[in-house]
Homo-oligomer: 200 residues x 2
DNA sequence: TCCAACGTACTACAGCCGTAGTGCGACGGG
DNA sequence: CCCGTCGCACTACGGCTGTAGTACGTTGGA
């Protein structure tokens, strides 16, 4: 086999095009025909690969998880015992990487997350991915000495998620913060969580 | 005049129904006809009140801003000089209020925010509301002694936004955190920002 | 060599969507 | 009292959408 299984390359092309359309035109812009045209495929190709709309969405979600894992790389974080500073660096870098250069993926993710609200089959994917992510982060903050790791992980995720949303669709007006700013944010977040009492 | 101007009650009904549909069925579920049916209005009413889809969306956004301002009440925050504790309380309460009991409004907001990405006319509304919000929060953290108020306000907004998103569509699996948890989060966030150095 | 299976291309169709046009009835000013 | 104005109900229509059906070429195994 050249790639994986015959038709896998085409499936990936269709899925990537679907993600691009989602980002560019939203949920109403994602149609079988639009994918065909945008991908330069003959009419009917997408409809044939993913018969129903549900199938098309699942294809897109699977591909999204695949591509996001590649930019996040949370599994190769430094050991917390090797010094908190390097972990802060790594987290800030990961957050900044997620912020820049893949606005398309981020937008598509929010579109699909909203849709998953109403489609249990999609829901499952997001819940699974979210749970895995949360566990990894929980381990990390535990290693840093957090006294309430689950809550802290959740709070960190909320912050990062909100930051990404702001950058692509929110209050930032497309002014993405630099690495330094993100690093300062992460550092303060962790400082607050890891014990320094209230300074007032 | 009984309400404001003739037809205002009907306009509000249509807008509220549009928001409900957005939350329940997403952007693809919001159509002129669906609004008519859901609101129990005769066919064509919505189409007549908001001729184009763009007009319908603008109606919904205007109504959204109106209703959200009512639940947030950021303008009646206590003076920071009256003690940081009471401000933390107020912020936590506001965040928790936004989290509970109006999932519908929150979902609709994210749907519209995503759509605003592609519609400059909607964009304007969100940008304006976001800027106002950011300024108020900047003033608050300035009063608390922040050394980088703009960045801190942005970070707080990101956190709150992400928290709301997680609650309605994300990693929480519909498990909304209680007031106590939200308060602890806010307290730690502010503690980290307001100077306690890194404890590692 | 032949045939079964599969990916692919193309067509068909019923249903829904956004938008425009039009007639009607009520309310208010002159 | 009369007429203009405005909101409202209803209909029409061109276009697009999701999905099913089917015919074709190729590839791999018996």
């Amino acid at each position: 086999m050249s790639v994986r299984t015959p038709g896998a390359a085409r499936a990936d092309l269709v899925a990537d095009t679907a993600l691009a359309l989602l980002a560019e035109r939203g949920m109403r812009g994602l149609t079988h025909r639009a994918v065909d045209e945008t991908a330069g495929l003959p009419q009917g190709s997408t409809s044939n690969l993913a018969r129903t709309r549900q199938a098309l969405l699942e294809l897109a979600v699977r591909r999204l998880a695949e591509r996001e894992a590649r930019v996040l790389r949370l599994h190769e974080m430094p050991d917390p015992r090797a010094g908190a500073d390097s972990l802060v660096d790594a987290l800030a870098l990961a957050a900044h990487r997620a912020l820049t250069g893949n606005r398309e993926l981020t937008l598509a993710r929010y579109e699909l997350a909203l849709e998953a609200t109403r489609r249990p089959e999609l829901r499952a994917y997001f819940d699974a991915a979210g749970a895995r992510f949360r566990e990894q982060l929980t381990t990390l903050v535990t290693g840093l000495g957090s006294t309430d790791p689950e809550r802290h992980a959740l709070s960190l995720i909320a912050w990062a998620d909100g930051l990404m949303f702001s950058c692509v669709a929110g209050s930032f007006s497309a002014r993405v913060p630099g690495v330094a700013e993100v690093r300062a944010d992460v550092e303060e977040l962790l400082a607050g969580m890891l014990g320094a009492g209230k300074p007032w």
